[in-house]
């Protein structure tokens, strides 16, 4: 009886969960489907298979510029936000001090604020400070929104880190830096790489902040936004979008595998997905 009761809700819920996952993936899957369709408008029935829209992509100079800009911004934002994330995550997981949770809350705040408001307030300050808008200002904005994600990944890697290992190393005569390099770093390296990948992906996909803070240079999402005005360009945009989807998917999968490895090393569960 109990077994049946236990099974039944699970059964209904499992069906619901399956439908829900379909609902989550279905819209996204239409992008790759119509990016290899011969028709210029995305509608059923499909007219035929072609890679034509993909072949056009490398022949568009504006697109290549945008891709290069996105790469520069993404790498810079990932490195900077991971560095700031390491400091903050180490401080949060290792030390107790007054104001700790307030500071933590402030650093995590960009996660729950409307992006438009974050973007226009940064825009105002940058214009007041006389900074000219460029890829640099985009990086500054992206670092702010990446830090919370970097913190989440790194905290899950640092938490439960056995402090006695560091103490043992210090007792055995290693310097503070030597301990960090030879004991701490190897333990948390997967979490750091995971954070770099997560931040790069977020920066690569981020639109609003880049849209407000860039000068004349476009990143890939801004390029896509510009192309959306032209109905005839849609298949090319779908092809580019598909490539971005695949890139994000691969980066996040690697990041998650590394994060889990880091969490296992420090015997800790949870983090980005839990």
């Amino acid at each position: 009886m109990i077994a049946v009761r236990r099974f039944l809700p699970g059964g209904w819920l499992a069906a619901y969960a399956f439908l829900y996952v379909v609902f989550l993936y279905l819209p996204v899957i239409f992008l790759p489907i119509f990016s290899v369709n011969t028709a210029a408008t995305p509608k059923f029935p499909l007219t035929g298979f072609t890679l034509h829209w993909y072949e056009d992509l490398p022949r568009t100079p504006a697109l290549l510029d945008a891709a290069w800009n996105s790469l520069i911004v993404g790498v810079s934002a990932a490195v900077l936000s991971t560095l700031l994330g390491i400091l903050a995550a180490r401080s949060i997981t290792r030390y107790r001090y007054p104001g700790r949770s307030t500071i933590h809350g402030l650093i995590m705040a960009p996660l729950v604020l409307p992006e438009v408001i974050v973007a226009i307030s940064m825009l105002l300050v940058m214009l007041q400070l006389g900074l000219s808008l460029s890829l640099f200002t985009v990086v500054l904005g992206h670092v702010l929104v990446c830090i919370p994600y970097s913190m989440t990944v790194l905290t899950s890697g640092f938490e439960g880190f056995d402090r006695s290992l560091e103490e043992a190393s210090a007792d055995l005569g290693e310097s503070a830096f030597g301990t960090f390099r030879r004991v701490t770093l190897p333990m948390v390296a997967p979490a750091i790489i995971s954070s770099l990948l997560v931040c790069f992906t977020i920066s690569l996909d981020e639109f609003i902040i880049a849209f407000f803070l860039t000068g004349t240079e476009a990143t890939l999402p801004i390029y896509i936004w510009g192309q959306l005005r032209f109905a005839a360009k849609l298949p090319g945009v779908l092809a580019l979008g598909t490539l971005l989807l695949v890139a994000s998917f691969l980066l996040m999968t690697v990041a998650e595998i590394l994060r889990r490895r880091a969490a296992r090393r420090t015997q800790n569960e949870g983090g980005l997905y839990a």
Binding site: P9, G10, L13, A17, Y20, V21, F23, L24, P27, F30, L31, T41, P42, F44, L84, G85, L87, A88, R90, S91, R94, Y95, R96, Y97, P98, G99, L106, I107, A109, P110, V112, L113, P114, E115, V116, I117, V118, I120, S121, M122, L124, V125, L140, V143, L144, I147, T201, D205, F207, I224, W225, L228, V237, L238, G241, L245, F249, M252, Y273, A274
Partner: protein
């Protein structure tokens, strides 16, 4: 040797005390977090203060008049266009957060209680679409709901409708559907975390004491997961009120939201103080709405017990 040691205590004491201070937990912890903290102060707190300051100023073409005025707030709250946009934005964000929480709860429950060994695989499956570009996800809804889009052409192909329906795209329902999809995962995670914390023995105790599965769920599991429901609702409600991309791409004329008006003030209309006042008003009202939501959920939680 001993004599030297006896003579030096005061010096060693102060140095020891200074070292102790430098090595004390609070100082080291604060020193370590300060670069990140200062970054957030300069690029988040300072900008928000600047926005608040601007909202009390006036713009004359290219110069800003810094005499204090409430005129911007009067315009933001009484001009019919802004009042309507605000009301619509709040309505959309409230609807979206209620929908996402209702849709997400069963999934979070399923993963937490029936996920078994595959919990993290499920979470990974559900979160992965959300690491793809937000812009692309909104774009795919445009492809689906458009006049010549997937849904219309699919329904016509199946013979369910004869001509494309115009009711699908460019209205506030399209915005609601798109946002509900876009924020689904963000609602699942906090609910899942709070369900994981529910003590399973309490559920068993309720069952042992004669509560059916539904009653024990309503009286034990649901109230205990209220914190997760609250944070899920807030995590969806606050950012969606200021969404810019979705109304712009799928909202059409009837789906315009307050963020589009704010952007216009910083762009074409070039009235920064009014844009700032609209931003501050939006944030204040959504905070009030969020606070009310928390109170209502807490009250329901007490009722359930």
């Amino acid at each position: 040797m001993t004599a030297a040691a006896e003579r030096s205590p005061p010096l060693r004491m102060t140095r020891a005390r200074r070292n102790a201070l430098l090595q004390s937990e609070p100082v080291q912890g604060l020193a370590l977090i300060s670069p990140t903290f200062i970054y957030a102060l300069i690029l988040l707190v300072l900008p928000i203060l600047v926005v608040i300051a601007h909202s009390f100023w006036t713009q004359h073409y290219l110069t800003i008049d810094r005499t204090f005025t409430l005129e911007n707030y009067r315009v933001a709250l009484t001009e019919p266009i802004y009042r309507d946009l605000l009301r619509r934005s709040l309505y959309i964000s409230l609807t979206v957060s209620v929908l996402t929480v209702l849709l997400a709860y069963p999934i979070a429950y399923f993963i937490s209680f029936h996920g078994g060994r595959h919990k993290s695989l499920w979470l990974f499956l559900i979160t992965i679409p959300f690491w793809t570009s937000y812009l692309l996800r909104v774009m795919s809804w445009k492809v689906i709901l458009g006049y010549n889009g997937v849904l219309n052409s699919g329904l016509m192909g199946l013979g369910i409708i004869d001509e494309p329906s115009t009711a699908l795209l460019y209205n506030s329902s399209a915005v609601i559907i798109t946002l509900t999809h876009a924020w689904a995962a963000f609602a699942i995670l906090p609910i899942f975390v709070s369900l994981e914390k529910v003590d399973r023995t309490l559920v068993e105790a309720a069952t042992d004491l004669g509560d059916g599965p539904l009653r024990s769920f309503l009286r034990v599991t649901l109230p205990l997961s209220a914190p997760g429901v609250i944070s899920a609702a807030l995590i969806v409600m606050i950012p969606t009120v200021g969404d810019y991309v979705t109304p712009k791409l799928v909202g059409g004329k009837d789906g315009v939201m307050i963020a589009n008006a704010i952007q216009a003030q910083f762009g074409k209309a070039s009235n920064w103080p009014l844009g700032a006042a609209l931003s501050v008003t939006t944030m204040l009202i959504v905070t009030l709405m969020a606070g009310a939501t928390v109170l209502i959920i807490r009250a329901l939680q007490r009722l359930a017990r």
